[in-house]
Symmetry: C2
């Protein structure tokens, strides 16, 4: 893996290179996606079934689009019991963590005659997209569904593309069932997102759509944003490890590799103050590499988006860490908790040498749906907050309003809004007429 | 104003008619907006200045784009002292309310050797769009800036279009200064949004863009979403009043009118169980109308998007209220607090007959930037939460990881990810090699 010294030029080049991975770079596909959305919006199920035939090579119709109880039962028979047990452990810790995120409604009644507050209400209907294909997404199902359940979402509608036999991967069905989802439809891609956003005869319209997908799914989510809400536009995965000379190069190497195996666009970066560590990590990576099943993907990912970056000191190391704003950040330094206090931008922060990133993927409890590609500067991990919305509460008595009514009227008139002033004034002057 | 009895058909027609007001209906302008964004992205200031010349008829360049301290001083001389006093009162209550929204970082250390948590960090750089033109937006400035300040945003960059003389409305500058904004640029429209999203020589790139604007601004915000975050896509304003026979028809009429004066696309709706109330409200509206300065706008708004809706009973009234999901909801019923508990979807809820909507626009404290056009089903009022983001915190000791390491490895292998399994295993087996 290449070792690069940080300076203004190398930093700029690296940041630009990393952004090439963004779904924002694929706007060329936007036209196709817009066409699919329009078609589903206008022609409903007909368009949906026809795209499923075209893209997934599956015959789906009104009668078989919804996963049946029998199919779920059958799926359970196909899933290893040991795995089911682990899935249930994972579910438990994900539930525990997310329950702590629950916000209460609150009110403030500290002023006589005035109640102000914030009412928290779950979103009523949520769509969860689960990718299909050969890969398994058991953990994704848990991570997307459990926060919605904890928030109190009434109706969770899952969509996932079928295989050519019109079947859904057994693991997905079992994970969905364990998470409490009962409504699953065999449809994927941009057409599934369009169906969730606008509704068809078979698929109910939802209020928000969450879940990862390919570039068509990502662009479709962006296109329907505003009609419905979405979680975020997911990009390829990434890790940044911030380490000093105290870090174990073998652990660093193994963790960089684990991220690189996701896909060729994944990015694995070490930022360190120690050249010795960088060199040892490079050696360890080569030692591991040949024995890993996904080494071809890993090699491409490391060649294109992998870096061992040398910083002059910890200040510079932390600065570039904040600029990259990585989805996953591991801190393996002398004093990792104190260094964490200087981190402004990261999706999830793994502290200390035993907090390896895959711990967060499956088992620890915090959500693994995280902001990618620098968006940790402004986006957050998927959370219970994504499945609620707030309403402000305002209540004044006559006496309380009377104290401010002249101010409000004057403010309204200053903005040229006489009907606003009127609506306050009529409450204090029986004969008021602006 | 028309009185309509609620039934499935009338409800469907009304909901469809209201959606015609959505910015989502104006996708025809999207191409122009995309072109402007591309141009600013590629040509920076040059494009920015040229669009400002074209659309705002103002000569803006590197030397005069930034508002100077002298200009702010001059603005103070033009603003009425009484108004300034009211502005400061409003600022105080807005600050008080939003301070209550502040979320703490938290951690859970209840299990030996495990720390899980959620770190809250302010977004670093935020852009605030303030519309220009003849209307004044003093309250908008306060509502957009104060939550960002409370959240701890480091750098707030305001943009607002200049008049033909290259000047910015004095009220906007004074409100900005009172709210603590020191960096204001004279640029508006889609070109301003593009500049904030990608940066130009004169305008810094920000992480998030908030604030209302015309259709070009709304579409530009949607287009740059993903590159940066945005607050929401604002549509025209609306009010729904839920009232029974106990409501004062004069107050109901005045409040419906106050919303209708915003613009021709504004919507004012009464949902009531009392035909008598609906008829009296209609009469009162006609009485007020002729004396209001913006009656032409009001008439068009009421004709196109105003309704007095008759529900058979409170259940039906509340159901349609939740389906419309209004930006502003006033409840004027016998027991308005209890009826509030049944409201699922609304931006701000005004309870009781003295909680007139303009109270919330200026003075009460809760934010007046609210989800419009049915988006209260999934969006929330602008809040301190819009200006922070969260990072998950995960830290395990060796002993804690050891208890789950076999489960994580098995789960990873079940998803076909051997490098994930490897990264955990190497920590427990010196010679591990997958």
């Amino acid at each position: 893996m290449r070792i690069i010294e940080l300076n203004e030029t190398s930093k700029k080049n690296i940041l630009e290179n990393l952004l090439k991975r963004s779904p924002n770079q694929y706007e060329a596909y936007a036209n196709i996606v817009d066409q699919i959305i329009k078609d589903v919006r206008n022609n409903g199920d007909k368009a949906l079934f026809s795209y499923t035939k075209e893209f997934d090579k599956a015959d789906i119709n009104e009668a078989n689009i919804k996963v049946t109880e029998e199919e779920i039962k059958k799926a359970y028979q196909q899933v290893d019991n040991k795995l089911l047990e682990i899935l249930r452990k994972a579910k438990k810790s994900i539930e525990e963590y997310h329950t702590k995120q629950k916000q209460n409604s609150w009110f403030d009644a500290s002023k006589e005659g005035i109640i102000l507050g914030q009412k928290v209400t779950p979103i009523e209907k949520v769509g969860v997209y689960v990718p299909g294909g050969k890969a398994a997404y058991l953990s994704t199902v848990l991570m997307d569904v459990i926060p919605a359940k904890v928030a109190g979402v009434d109706r969770i509608v899952m969509v996932t593309p079928p295989d050519t036999k019109g079947e859904v991967y057994a693991g997905t069905l079992v994970a969905a069932s364990e998470a409490g989802v009962t409504e699953i439809y065999k449809v994927g891609g941009a057409q599934a997102i369009a169906a969730l956003a606008f509704g068809t005869k078979s698929i109910p319209k939802v209020d928000k759509i969450v879940g990862p997908g390919n570039i068509y799914v990502a662009l479709a989510k962006k296109a329907v944003y505003g009609h419905v809400s979405i979680d975020s536009i997911a990009g390829p995965s990434e890790i940044l490890i911030l380490a000093d000379e105290t870090a174990n190069p073998r652990y660093v190497a193994a963790d960089l590799l684990s991220q690189a195996e996701h896909d060729e666009l994944a990015s694995s970066i070490l930022v360190t103050t120690s050249r010795k560590l960088a060199e040892e990590v490079s050696t360890e990576i080569n030692k591991f590499l040949e024995s890993l099943s996904r080494r071809d993907i890993i090699k491409k990912s490391l060649d294109n988006y992998g870096y061992l970056l040398l910083a002059k000191n910890m200040d510079e190391a932390i600065e570039v860490t904040n600029e990259i704003a990585s989805e996953h950040l591991e801190i393996m330094t002398k004093d990792p908790f104190m260094d964490m206090t200087r981190i402004k931008n990261a999706g999830a922060i793994f502290i200390g040498e035993y907090s390896s990133e895959p711990l967060g993927d499956y088992m620890a409890g915090p959500n693994h749906t995280l902001p990618t590609n620098g968006t940790a500067k402004f986006f957050s991990p998927l959370s219970v907050d994504d499945f609620i919305k707030k309403s402000s509460i305002i209540s004044y008595t006559k006496e309380a309003l009377e104290k401010v009514h002249k101010d409000i009227e004057a403010f309204a008139l200053s903005e040229g809004l006489s009907a606003h002033a009127n609506s306050i004034a009529v409450r204090f002057d029986e004969n008021y007429s602006n």
